[in-house]
């Protein structure tokens, strides 16, 4: 019998710093909710709006898989591994922090707001060598399809991370129905609605709602509106 947990958009943590308007699906920074600590190895899901030219100065990370997906605008990224890059909407960035890395992230545009999802997963191995990658997403392949954008394998589609996790992203026509099969026994799926309205395993979800489902091997999906866009995060439910 599958189990689920529903996180409605308006129950997320919220911090408005002026230049940064952040919504946290799980406890982060000064937002602490013991009921919202993680979904399996998924520890952070931040939905950040960042004003033009503003951002996070150089700061360190370690032992975390950090995935950034810009939804609108562009990020200017620099890190201690020597990477200097711009990541725009339609791309994905991954950083395995491992033994330690420092980076800065700014809105690359002076007069346009940046909206990004930043997702942190616990790694399945501590103290790995830090690593950076970014890729352009195949937007056409996402039409009425959960297109894989992240996996545990360098040889598989999308970027790869140090965890048995798979992310898929899709944009759907109204009325489109499909089934998603969980990639690995013991994994659960956290669905995050980027836009539109959808029904997943009988639960109706609106923009920025999150639904975690586990103890199942597949989930049913239906798009209820024409602009439905959903990110599925297929993650181990057991912490390492």
């Amino acid at each position: 019998m599958s189990q689920f947990i529903l996180h409605k958009e308006n129950t997320r943590g919220h911090a408005n710093h002026g230049w940064l308007n952040a919504h946290h699906s799980f406890s982060f920074a000064n937002y602490y909710n013991p009921e919202r600590m993680h979904f399996g190895v998924l520890r952070v899901l931040n939905d950040d709006l960042i004003d033009g030219g503003m951002g996070f100065g150089t700061h360190p990370h370690d032992n975390m898989e950090i995935i950034t997906i810009p939804l609108a605008g562009a990020i200017a990224h620099k890190d201690s591994m020597g990477n200097s890059a711009t990541i725009t909407a339609g791309e994905i960035q991954v950083m395995s922090a491992g033994t330690g890395v420092s980076h800065s992230e700014y809105n690359a545009l002076a007069d346009e707001q940046l909206n990004l999802l930043q997702i942190w997963l616990f790694p399945n191995k501590k103290n790995v060598t830090p690593r950076y990658d970014q890729q352009t997403l195949d937007v056409e392949a996402m039409h009425n399809n959960f297109q894989q954008i992240l996996s545990p394998s360098a040889d598989d589609a999308g970027v790869w991370i140090q965890q048995d996790a798979w992310f898929s992203l899709g944009k759907f026509d109204e009325g489109f129905e499909t089934e998603y099969k969980i990639k690995k026994a013991g994994n659960g799926v956290y669905a995050f609605v980027i836009s539109g309205e959808v029904t997943i395993d009988g639960q109706t979800l609106s923009k920025r709602d999150g639904l975690g489902i586990w103890d199942t091997d597949s989930i049913s999906f239906k798009a209820n509106t024409a602009d439905a866009e959903v990110l599925l995060m297929d993650v181990p439910m057991e912490l390492n």
Binding site: A29, R43, P60, D62
Partner: protein
């Protein structure tokens, strides 16, 4: 009452940041070191409420360190700190201290 938190991590830069973060809150006193020897010495000399294990501590070192610290203070709470910064720190400490 101030909570004393001992952080141990191998990366000097992250250790400096952790020291700043832990001592930014009046309710916390942070002591941040890079070596296990320093950590053991501090644990012997001072009241410690919580230990955060940071980056770069391999499994063997971690096992030895945990055993040493618990032999000094058997009820000491020792947790892994993930992320190397402010993002998870407050939640980790609140979760550990209850």
């Amino acid at each position: 009452m101030q909570t004393t938190i001992l952080y141990i991590g191998r990366d000097t830069e992250i250790t400096i940041v952790m020291n700043r973060l832990l001592n930014a809150r009046p309710e916390w006193k942070g002591i941040c070191v890079c070596t296990d020897e320093e950590a053991v010495s501090i644990c012997e000399e001072q009241k410690i409420d919580l230990v955060l294990l940071g980056n770069g501590i391999d499994q063997n070192c971690e096992e030895v360190l945990r055993a040493k610290l618990l032999s000094i203070k058997p009820n000491l709470k020792i947790i892994q700190h993930y992320g190397g910064g402010s993002g998870l720190l407050y939640g980790e400490i609140m979760g550990a201290l209850g």
